[in-house]
């Protein structure tokens, strides 16, 4: 039997976004995305959960130093927190900032930083858009 050690860090960020496919007419955008396609966009208090997997270091008792993990997440969130994701975040110039795509981009960005370390791997990204809607993203 094999075991996995997982630790999750939770961070909030606030951002606005607009669901808009530039290859579609305004009518089609309205029909498909509803009020999420309105011109001014809208905002949420998102919650990001980053879960990493690794061995518990016998010297520190930790999978990853949580201050390091917090620093990694904060640096990634620079492009997200208090931003307009469509306008301000370079990753969404050609990608619609749906909750699914936000989770995907956050996976790519956090994993890139985690891969520079030798103590753990990224296990899962969870993004809550609101209390009643969240996306889990993993690559395995």
């Amino acid at each position: 039997m094999s075991f996995k050690n997982l630790i999750t860090k939770k961070v909030e960020f606030s951002a606005s976004h607009r669901y808009w496919n530039k290859n579609w007419s305004e009518e089609k955008n309205r029909e498909f995305y509803g009020k999420s396609s309105l011109p001014g966009g809208h905002g949420h208090n998102f919650t990001l959960e980053v879960t990493v997997e690794g061995e518990i270091n016998p010297e520190t008792g930790m999978i990853i130093n949580l201050f390091d993990l917090k620093r990694i997440i904060s640096s990634v969130l620079d492009d997200f927190d208090h931003k307009n994701l469509n306008e301000d975040n370079p990753h969404f110039q050609n990608l619609i900032p749906t909750t699914e795509n936000i989770a995907k981009v956050l996976w790519e960005m956090v994993e890139k930083k985690i891969l520079e370390r030798d103590d753990c791997n990224l296990h899962r990204i969870r993004v809550y858009e609101t209390d009643d809607l969240f996306v889990d993203y993993q690559k395995c």
Binding site: F32, T98, E100, N101, L133
Partner: protein, 143 residues
Amino acid sequence: MLTRKEQVLLTRVFKFSASHRLFIEGLSDEENLAVFDKCANPAGHGHDYSVEVTIRGEIDNETGMVINRIDFERQAIPIIEELNYKWIDRDIPFFENNISTVENIGKYLWRKFSELIPDKLDHIRIWENQKSYFEYFEKKHHG
């Protein structure tokens, strides 16, 4: 280099409030109380239920979504509303022959949602209160 596959799960949480009573047809009130304790109170009781519907899919390149959420909402809300502010055992035909435990309500909702999104429904988690939940899924993904 291993090829990895992305796994995307979208969870929508719905809430409804309903009354129910746990009892076995044919048993006396005393016998039902012995089996189900206070949940067999003859006049019933109620809960605020919370239902997590988890959808598995790929992110569509064109829409950025795993499911057309407007369509999904339109079809999902009547399923939840059918239970909302109802006496589950009396008002929902499925519970004429199934005791309205959180397990059976989860199973009922699995059936309803798997008719709606047969290929994409991953699991249903239902909370009767904040202390316990029941989860229902088919074995194909979870091994």
